[in-house]
């Protein structure tokens, strides 16, 4: 239990640090949302002063930070100037869309990477292994941006898949299954691009972890007992190799979140990516800070889940903490 407590304390400190860091950058920020208003002859300078005062942009930074953090505890992430509403509800809708994408992509990526990696490790140094190494190398070489754009062009040429967005125009009028089908069709391209962008990393790590275990004496013994190959690989070798892979789950979340940011913009998926970009261009600082914080929260949450999983999967960690 101490292990878990330590991990969650670590996560909390991390989040606080990130919030501080993100907020501190606002000092460097030249210009604010209201600067543009100065150019507008219909807005009096006094109005801007009042507005700045209302959103506390004129107060010293430490005070603003304390105020913001105390609001955060109550679920208030500040105010979006551009949308003229609180930030949190805006962010949550986008975050839901982003999570839908990244979560699906992560499940799929692991579902593909595990068998591929194990297969590659099983045939270490032989043809299947070489083929896969070349495949992953090729995928590594292609930048995410090029991959996403390429997919989009192919989609346009084929005309079968929707080329962007999350739902069709007539989404509301569709039946339940029609809606599900529409959503899935729209998800296909971004999810495929995301999966391919993390796949090489995962396959390589699975291969390395399993290959390391496959030469262990206990597996030779098991093989000598005539245990079938499949059972051997998936029930004996995989759990033994799980430790580094579970840590990789946390790491892959970060990669996926970053990848998703770009792919969302390219494929006009209404997630955090396009929203954040828009906020940056409009200098809507609380939205930017909130978005960064939320993404860190997902990452930290994912890592925490990975820790939980590790605690459950690896008896050595349980032993170490109870002692």
């Amino acid at each position: 239990m101490r292990y878990l407590l330590r991990r969650s304390a670590h996560a909390a400190v991390l989040l606080l640090g990130v919030s501080l860091l993100a907020f501190a950058f606002t000092v460097l920020a030249p210009g604010s949302y209201f600067d543009e208003m100065r150019l507008n002859p219909h807005i009096a300078p006094e109005t801007i002063v009042v507005l700045r005062a209302r959103y506390e942009l004129d107060r010293p930074l430490p005070l603003r930070y304390v105020h913001w953090v105390s609001g955060l505890v109550h679920g208030d992430m500040g105010f979006s100037f551009a949308y003229n509403t609180p930030v949190l509800p805006l962010l949550l809708v986008r975050a839901r869309n982003t999570l839908l994408l990244t979560f699906t992509a992560m499940l799929l990526a692991w579902a593909v990477a595990l068998p591929l990696g194990i297969w590659s490790a099983e045939h270490l140094g032989h043809l299947p292994d070489h083929l896969l190494s070349w495949g992953t190398a090729a995928l590594l070489v292609i930048p995410d941006l090029a991959l996403a754009l390429g997919f989009l062009i192919i989609a346009v040429k084929l005309g079968r898949l929707p080329e962007g967005g999350m739902v069709s125009l007539d989404f509301e009028s569709l039946s339940f299954f029609g809606k599900a089908r529409d959503l899935l069709l729209h998800m296909a391209l971004p999810v495929a691009a995301l999966v391919l962008s993390v796949l090489p990393l995962l396959v390589r790590h699975v291969r390395a972890a399993v290959a390391e275990i496959l030469v262990a004496p206990f597996l030779l013994t098991a093989e000598g007992h005539g245990i079938p190959r499949r059972t051997l690989l998936y029930q004996y070798a995989l759990p033994a190799a799980a430790n580094p892979l579970i840590s990789l789950v946390g790491f892959s979340i970060g990669t996926l979140l970053s990848g998703s940011l770009l792919i969302e913009v390219v494929m006009s998926w209404p997630g955090l990516g396009p929203f954040l970009l828009e906020a940056i261009l409009a200098r809507d600082i609380y939205v930017v800070i909130g978005g960064v914080l939320l993404s860190t929260f997902f990452l930290v949450g994912g890592n925490f889940l990975a820790d939980l999983l590790l605690y459950w999967a690896d008896p050595r960690i349980r032993k170490e903490t109870s002692a």
Binding site: L14, G17, V18, L21, A22, F25, T26, L28, A29, P30, G31, A137, L140, V141, I142, P143, D144, L145, A146, L149, G150, L152, I153, V156, K157, E163, G164, H205, S247, L248, F251, G254, T255, L257, S258, G259, L261, L262, V265, V266, L276, L277, A279, I280, L281, R283, I285, V288, I289, G291, V292, S295, T296, L299, V300
Partner: protein, 344 residues
């Protein structure tokens, strides 16, 4: 092909590719900002060897393009106007490495312009823009990686050598930076810097942002190496003879970090090229009219371009060898320093 041999092959490939970009003025047939408003979105011209009469020519030639009848953006080859490809021709002014003025270009055509990769919305030659754009993107990547590695070296050496509270503080900070998804971090940093900047400022800004984003991983690796190096017997002996901290670091400890740093640099450069591309693609990086690999692709964000002018995507394919070179180099270097694995 193992070890040293492989590394030198990859290096050779990279040097060749970088020379292409470094001497952009010579290899690019035209000025990247020169517009031709009468020929927007020209498709790539195909090179031929056999003419209309079926005669073979050793000198490749292209046909000039003309608008297809009853169309405003569909071009076809005008079989009556052949443009032979000439080598070492005189054309637009440029300076070798920004110093020596010259007009010599590797290739070009005499009567009309030849577009091997097509042209963009303003009729600018895509090939020239790609070659010149590589300057911005590659050097942003290289300099960014340089800054990052240097920063990581300083932080990691300080943390590992002095230890104690300094080590704790620096490494906690590094964890903070590692915890953020890097693209979000890049966005956040960019968000708080001025938006409308000149191309040069944007370039320097990007390098600074890249350095600020990436220093944590090399710092942690360097710290590990320094920690083990400072306990080596010869270092302790030197310390016993009264060597100063500065001397010990310079002479005995930092040289041990060189292979880690090199490997990190080889991993970081392509990542940073990509980061620059991403920023410029989204309009947060180097602004037009200066080409960069990112803003070269950004026209694909328009649906009409995506549908009708697929060749705007070609630069994304041509840049793959650059990434391949760095990937190959990084994996070879990594094999040599097996002990230091990627990941946390």
């Amino acid at each position: 092909m193992t070890g040293r041999r492989a590394i030198s092959w990859w290096l050779l490939l990279l040097v060749g590719l970088h020379a292409l970009v470094l001497f952009a003025g010579f290899f690019a047939p035209y000025d990247p900002t020169e517009q031709d408003r009468r020929s927007p979105y020209l498709p790539p011209m195909r090179l031929h060897f056999v003419d209309n009469q079926g005669h073979f020519h050793a000198r490749p030639f292209a046909f000039a393009l003309k608008l297809r009848e009853a169309s405003f953006d569909q071009y076809e080859e005008d079989r009556t106007r052949a443009l032979p490809l000439k080598f070492m021709v005189r054309g637009a002014n440029y300076r070798w490495l920004g110093l020596l003025p010259s007009r010599l270009h590797l290739f070009g055509a005499e009567s009309e312009k030849i577009y091997l990769l097509g042209s963009d919305a303003y009729g600018r030659d895509q090939l020239s823009r790609f070659v010149y754009g590589g300057r911005v993107s590659l050097f942003a990547g290289l300099l960014g990686a340089g800054v990052t590695v240097l920063l990581g070296l300083c932080v990691g050496a300080a943390a590992g050598y002095y230890g104690g509270w300094r080590d704790d503080l620096l490494m906690r900070l590094a964890e903070l930076f590692l915890a953020l998804p890097w693209l979000y971090l890049l966005f956040a940093l960019r968000a708080f810097l001025p938006l409308a900047v000149s191309p040069l400022e944007a370039f320097l800004l990007i390098i600074a942002v890249l350095g600020a984003v990436g220093w944590a991983r090399p710092a942690r690796l360097v710290r590990g190496v320094v920690l083990s190096a400072k306990e080596r017997d010869f270092v302790r002996a030197a310390r016993g003879f009264g060597a100063t901290d500065g001397y010990l670091l310079r002479r005995h400890i930092l040289p041990a970090t060189s292979s880690v740093l090199l490997t990190q640099a080889a991993i970081l450069v392509p990542q940073f090229i990509l980061a620059e591309m991403t920023l410029s693609f989204l309009g947060l990086g180097v602004p037009e009219p200066v080409p960069s690999w990112g803003n070269l692709l950004s026209s694909l964000q328009q649906y009409s371009v995506l549908v009708s002018y697929w060749w705007m995507y070609l630069p994304a394919l041509i840049m793959l060898p650059f990434f391949l070179g760095y990937l190959g180099l990084a994996s070879e270097l990594q094999e040599r320093t097996e002990a230091y694995k990627i990941g946390n």
